[in-house]
């Protein structure tokens, strides 16, 4: 644990404006809120945006882990590939699976499954020679090369039966909050009956919505990511994660309200020390450029001031601003972040 050699964290401070939307619903279908600095704010929970990022990662071709109770099938197929007979594969996979899961889902990558099958092969696919403690040990070792399961490394994993296989999440999301006060609005609607005999509407209802400029804070702990992925996977992981953050948008009510707004502004900082989000405790007031221009100004002012106040404890190594220079694309941002980390 040498503090000096520890890899830095990447902090993403993102501003994103959405028109009429209900990105994340509570149990009565209304947009989620929180009270901050005395005023009600629009809120999208961390879980919600994280799920969208997870789905976006998969669609962009990142290799993902599988969360399953059917580890047995996975092991079975891998054993066959390595030359086991049907009977051997069946007995070995049954035994190893039993050692790792009972009623729970196991989140596993395909390279890990291969590792387990290789272990069975070392024991000549003789189920009697597969001993409980050794199987768990295999699990412990197989975690490190889980390079083909970026989502396990980013979002973590818990294996109740084999705690050594637990992976601590490297990414962390705050609840996204509006930088300004909001009050949810109501969209009253009626529906007509096509075979109508009497005048008037056949159905009436209402939907709650709001429109907001959100502040999103996401951090990525590179040291933790390295512990899981190994150093080789880091550079590509940073690209895939950043892209997914850029693309992913919560799915609630997208068919009726279609909130497809991209990032407007982002401050991406590479630094050491304790991570810090921006509170936006003073609700931003709308000015010439709506809430967005005022929010960008408030975010910049806050970070500049905080950096000065924290002095050496802020530990900034590099800082990038995206969104104001039209010649500075997201691709450029990502490659400069990668470069600043010195990853090859």
């Amino acid at each position: 644990m040498n503090a000096k050699e520890k890899l830095p964290i990447i902090e993403y401070h993102i501003l994103q404006s959405f028109p009429v939307t209900c990105l994340n619903r509570d149990d009565v279908g209304a947009p989620k809120t929180a009270i901050i600095g005395g005023y009600t704010r629009a809120r999208v929970s961390s879980q919600c945006w994280k799920r969208s990022v997870r789905l976006a990662l998969r669609n962009s071709g990142a290799r993902m882990g599988i969360r399953t109770k059917k580890v047995e099938t996975l092991f079975h197929d891998e054993c066959i590939k390595l030359g086991a007979s049907e009977e051997q594969a069946k007995r070995c996979s049954e035994l190893m699976a039993k050692e790792l899961v009972d009623d729970t889902l196991l989140f596993i990558s395909s390279s890990e499954a291969t590792r387990f099958a290789e272990f069975a092969k070392e024991k000549l696919f003789d189920a009697k020679q597969l001993e409980g403690k050794e199987i768990i040990k295999v699990g412990k070792k197989a975690v490190a090369p889980a390079i083909d399961a970026l989502d396990i490394a980013l979002f973590g994993r818990m294996v109740a039966k084999a705690a050594d296989m637990n992976v601590e999440a490297a990414a962390s999301f705050s609840h996204a909050i509006s930088t300004h006060k909001i009050s949810n609005d109501i969209d009253f609607f009626t529906a007509l009956d096509d075979l109508q005999e009497e005048p008037g509407s056949a159905h009436m209802g209402s939907l709650e919505f709001n429109s907001a400029t959100y502040y999103r804070y996401v951090s990525l702990d590179l040291e933790q990511l390295k512990d899981t992925l190994g150093k080789e996977g880091l550079k590509e992981a940073v690209r895939q994660f950043s892209e997914a953050l850029f693309i992913a948008i919560p799915q609630a009510r997208q068919t009726t309200q279609s909130g497809a707004s991209p990032w407007e502004y982002a401050n991406v900082t590479v630094r050491k020390g304790q991570r810090l989000q921006v509170p936006f405790e003073t609700a931003v007031k709308r000015g010439e450029g709506g809430y967005l221009a005022a929010s960008i100004a408030a975010l910049k002012d806050y970070l500049t001031k905080k950096k000065k106040l924290c002095g050496s404890l802020y530990g900034e190594l590099a800082c990038f601003e995206w969104g104001e220079d039209e010649n500075y694309s997201i691709d450029k941002l990502i490659s400069e972040v990668q470069e600043s980390l010195g990853l090859s």
């Binding site: 901050i36 919600c48 601590e168 962390s172 951090s219 040291e223 020390g273 989000q277």
Partner: protein, 233 residues
């Protein structure tokens, strides 16, 4: 070995200090638990094991909490965050299907299988935590807090602090408390209540939040604390 007073400042729009959660209802106390704060220190140290000896030492130290709310607003109720686990996935997509909770036999649950959870959060509060501890362990904690090994968060990983947590080491309790009160004043916050260990005048609560062992098999024991209200409205 002399006594020191360690000051921590815990501030974020949302915090959650669970102490008695069951299943899908993840609750929070009104203030940071002792296990939560010691967990935070372990996170800073990069210590993920049982930590029995370290905990034995730190659990014995007296921990006091001062709770500050914004000056211009009454204390807010807890936020209840509603969340469904496993809803809206495509059943025909193998990978997505695996993200839906199943019954213990691996079959689809009756009525779909989404799991409802309620997660509770404290809104808009700031807490000063004062530890009366021996100098050596305090020095180790300070080093760790300045350059934390793992992410520091206020009860749940999503509760990212908006302030530096470490706020100094003092020779006396009064000095330490004064520093906390000054900080609160700068931030236009008012002392709402404080939590002291043991039975005193005020509301006495029994909490099962003294960690004996962390890691996979967590163990706790009880302590009694007194909550003193400072603002009566």
């Amino acid at each position: 070995m002399g006594k020191s007073f360690l000051l921590l400042w815990l501030e974020a729009p949302l915090q959650s200090w669970g102490h008695d959660s069951k299943f899908g209802r993840r609750d929070t106390l009104d203030f940071p638990t002792k296990s939560g704060v010691l967990g935070l220190l372990c996170s800073a140290r990069g210590a993920g094991g049982p930590e029995r000896e370290w905990l034995a030492q730190w659990s014995a130290f007296d921990m006091r909490v001062l709770a500050f709310r914004p000056e211009k607003q009454a204390r807010l109720p807890l936020l209840r965050d509603f969340h469904m686990v496993g809803s809206g996935y495509d059943l025909d997509d193998l990978w997505q299907n695996l993200l839906i909770p199943k019954t213990s036999e691996g079959k689809r649950a009756v009525g779909g299988g989404s799991k409802l959870t309620y997660r509770y959060y404290i809104q808009d509060m700031a807490f000063a935590v004062i530890f009366e501890a021996n100098s050596d362990p305090v020095n180790d904690a300070v080093t760790a807090l300045r350059n934390p090994h793992w992410d520091l968060f206020l009860g749940r990983k999503t509760c990212v602090p908006t302030e530096l947590i470490f706020r100094g080491v003092f020779d006396s309790f009064d000095e330490c408390e004064r520093s906390a009160l000054n900080l609160a004043q700068e931030k236009n916050r008012k002392l709402e209540f404080s939590v002291v260990e043991g039975v005193n005048e005020g509301e006495v609560v029994t909490l099962n939040d003294v960690p004996v062992q962390f890691g996979v098999d967590k163990k706790y024991r009880d302590r009694r604390v007194t909550v003193k209200r400072h603002i009566f409205e």
